[in-house]
Symmetry: D2
Amino acid sequence: MIVAMQEQATEEQIQHVTERMMELGFKVHRTTGAVQTILAGVGTPTAFDVKDFQVMDGVAEAYRITSPYKLAGRGFRPEGTVIRFKNGVTIGNSEAVVMAGPCSVENREQIFTAAEQVKAAGAKFLRGGAFKPRSSPYSFQGLGLEGLKLLREVGETTGLLIISEVMEISQIELMMPYVDVFQVGARNMQNFNLLRELGQVRKPVLLKRGIAATMEELLLSAEYILSGGNYEVMLCERGIRTFETYTRNTMDISAIPVLKKLSHLPVLGDPSHGVGLRDKVPAMARAAIAAGADGLLIEVHPNPEKAVSDGAQTLFPEQFAKLMQELRLIATAIGRSIA
Amino acid sequence: MIVAMQEQATEEQIQHVTERMMELGFKVHRTTGAVQTILAGVGTPTAFDVKDFQVMDGVAEAYRITSPYKLAGRGFRPEGTVIRFKNGVTIGNSEAVVMAGPCSVENREQIFTAAEQVKAAGAKFLRGGAFKPRSSPYSFQGLGLEGLKLLREVGETTGLLIISEVMEISQIELMMPYVDVFQVGARNMQNFNLLRELGQVRKPVLLKRGIAATMEELLLSAEYILSGGNYEVMLCERGIRTFETYTRNTMDISAIPVLKKLSHLPVLGDPSHGVGLRDKVPAMARAAIAAGADGLLIEVHPNPEKAVSDGAQTLFPEQFAKLMQELRLIATAIGRSIA
Amino acid sequence: MIVAMQEQATEEQIQHVTERMMELGFKVHRTTGAVQTILAGVGTPTAFDVKDFQVMDGVAEAYRITSPYKLAGRGFRPEGTVIRFKNGVTIGNSEAVVMAGPCSVENREQIFTAAEQVKAAGAKFLRGGAFKPRSSPYSFQGLGLEGLKLLREVGETTGLLIISEVMEISQIELMMPYVDVFQVGARNMQNFNLLRELGQVRKPVLLKRGIAATMEELLLSAEYILSGGNYEVMLCERGIRTFETYTRNTMDISAIPVLKKLSHLPVLGDPSHGVGLRDKVPAMARAAIAAGADGLLIEVHPNPEKAVSDGAQTLFPEQFAKLMQELRLIATAIGRSIA
Amino acid sequence: MIVAMQEQATEEQIQHVTERMMELGFKVHRTTGAVQTILAGVGTPTAFDVKDFQVMDGVAEAYRITSPYKLAGRGFRPEGTVIRFKNGVTIGNSEAVVMAGPCSVENREQIFTAAEQVKAAGAKFLRGGAFKPRSSPYSFQGLGLEGLKLLREVGETTGLLIISEVMEISQIELMMPYVDVFQVGARNMQNFNLLRELGQVRKPVLLKRGIAATMEELLLSAEYILSGGNYEVMLCERGIRTFETYTRNTMDISAIPVLKKLSHLPVLGDPSHGVGLRDKVPAMARAAIAAGADGLLIEVHPNPEKAVSDGAQTLFPEQFAKLMQELRLIATAIGRSIA
């Protein structure tokens, strides 16, 4: 930590700050300049709040130097994390992986049709919600266990891996036999109790960035899972909330190269939620791959106009097939591949 | 719902949109102007997504007219909701109520001292966290049940009502005997499973606005609780996330008059989280009362510099006492009172 | 400036950074910790970009310590700036000053009526636009010189001081005889050529914060005016752009205490633009005064429903008169006054 | 325009709204439903403010249906605008065009070296600032006329077209002989006097989106130029201001497909300002091309570490050359080309 004292700080104030730093476990190096005094705290106390120093008398600025996450940082595993699945699919390697399917599992025919369509186009994962977080209590809330069973059955039939969202601690055990990846939605990115429990399971987790979460907060949320011993975490950019309302969210494409630098974890993009408008989804999917994403999460439905949820941002199967062709060429342009 | 077709929309497109509206249960009135056709959907289908229409071919704009929440709207109870507590304290009346205390319950001495200090200054509620949502897994996570017991004990001793945060469904039953108000934090504003469970209890809930939540989303989250039959909900503005980083959040004081107009529920302000800097908290507390808040939630600690959490935004007891004097005068200026 | 090197930074990288710091005029103090090296740059080079260091190899973080503005900082005039007008009105003293009037000068009758109404209620300044910055080229653009003449005439008649917006360098000389304060609108907060010219005049300037401007940027824009020798600058918070769309802008009330601490310049609030909705303007005006504003800018029109611009956020004269009564009581509550 | 009345609106209120709509020139169609009355205003008054209706008594919601811009809308020129330059270069065609060069013109050697480097890699335009908008009055403000002359000379020598920023009306005539495209910076996007003057010249204008500007505001600013008769306008996304501070701005890649749909004007991307960090610029440049941008504006300097401005976001020449190779492949993937 660095504390820069105000120009007019008194010696007493400097001593008071120095003592608080030492109480936290820092060794303090003092630099006295012509204008102001700077206190450099050396050492790595586990947890402290730099804001406590910012409001102390005589302090001009206080900065945390070391990042507050450890296991999620690139330095923990410089070569990058690769997550391997039973059927040989990997995430975090040179091949970018596409996860596709409807927002919600609606019925047997819908999910089987969707699965065949996305598989034919090259997807490796089927996505589909069984438990749905809906802003309104009056909206469709998902099929629950019945939906999970359908997902597993279609996964067995097609060979697609299954990803589905977990919203609540009690759902973890219920979902365990049915999914290959637990998805944590943006609204639960800081549901710390849920994250801590997911640190105890031994199954990959895809953690979506909250709509108002900084990079650091996303990595701290990942740290909750990693610190429980579950190292198979993927990060996912899915749009942040800004002043612009034309799009549902503003997909922060720059989060992809930023997170790849800060962390060793694979980074995916979700253009469907990122932009929220069907005809803009392909452009954003291409942008995410061009920016270096390790994979994509895309909503596809046999008939988006009849989808029970998120229809406006869901691709028609033929749009998805065409997009996959473009994505393959773009992946090649930057030395990667898509199956 | 209103759908404005594009100028060049074809008759076929207009028919297609009309049919979809009728399928949802709308009666459709068509206005054909010189330039464009407008379709007015009359009726109140329970749930539909206006975005599904925005992306349909030939559509220029689509608007939802009726608000998506019912029970939380001002129209449901035009006279306003008043929440009454056992000791005669009410929230939602002409008297504004102040809830104060430390961020976290730390130990017996700390919480008893804090309680006496805030009571002496005029607070009616003691706040204090037993379960703490912390961005970092390495930060203090709260005393848990022990903290709840201390809160109840100090409540009995001082006559202060108790408010404390619930983070997880399993904590509801645990907390039930110890608290007078369940607080739902900003990060859990869209933890819909938790909200639904809180709809089943018969104890008031204070629901904080998420840092990136619109007014409508906040009211829809309140609707989750109300629709379960728990009508004793208070809303709380505690700062939103904007581009400005000087303050921890940007406290949206205008949310107070806006929510008072849109909803019958009492509206409180939390200047401590709203601004995050001790020396700015009094100004924001005064602003919230001047803008019509039904109450305040303020962090006060016997020694903020030694607080285990949120110290930088916590008032010294003497600052709080002085603030309460100012608040009384401001309340009077707008025809209200503070005890 | 402080540069914290990465843990794995090489000696060569540390030397390279040190040299660049010295080239800029810093004396460099080096602290070598067990984990990382910290370089403290002592001295005050006039201008440098801390981001240049953030991207250098081996650098973890780089911070500017001294604020980039000098004349606008509180330290330059700790006792605060008071601006005095010919008729004895002062801004920056214990009395808060209200400036009121229509968005645009429309015609003789309108502006005379408005002037009498706001004067009767206690305003000291008449506001009114002669040159209007309008988002659309098809909207009313102001009466220009004719409007200025009307303002001066009504000012002479009523004794009200005149404030009006300057949009362009060529308007400065034109406006000089007619106004008592030049208003710089939010859209021109970073029109640096205009600011520089305003530094050359000897008449007060009210500088509005841009809708996406940080505190630091606002103070740097003030610095452009101050560094030209014009020290009579007022700052004005008028709402920032956030994700919330219910209100026109989000009025950042916390900017008032923050700017009062960072700077010696008087700080006003503009609740009309801040919230954009007539029925919420009084609550925000009260909040601004409660938070310590040195004055207010409020839109009032004899008949807001017929106003050619900004009608939705303009008060009826009787609303304004009632508001002034409340403001007087609130000012008193915090030891200030309003005439 | 559509006005949806409140459920409890009185007949008198409905009449009052109807009359105001008719005064503006609308023909009003009334739909009376079981729950509420809807008033559809048919016709196209040149300018009105929908907010004036939102605050009228009895009104629930009011929506503008027709877009407030005419000439900038896609409907005005459905086939899209192509801007042609003397040497055969076009913007808005299948070929994407890259404009590159240093932030500021610093001296003869620097700008000639930069020009040769970017030309060799495939750029068609040289960018370089002669007048610099700087947040601080103490930063380098540009070489002015001398810089313009150097730009023209290097343009003649290399065959590169020249783009440079205009900040002020008086600079237009001065710059006219020296530049091929006038660049309007983000801070001047709503400097309406400047825009109006640029509508009078017959030279292309590149208009950057303000950091807090919506799509609609950007198109209205373009409308200012177009309505003066200058139809050669390009739009440029260069990052918006959000809560995220890791990057300088958040580059809104989705603005590219959105603007391409709403408008016929060419759309470029500026990844240098968009992300502000050199090592992330290539990823964002690739993303912009993948999303369909008609061109890019990229900062390149012979020695970025010694650049007088924007060094942190400026590419080394060899980074730029490598990037151009990738961009060519990505352009091909979506059926376009880059020279």
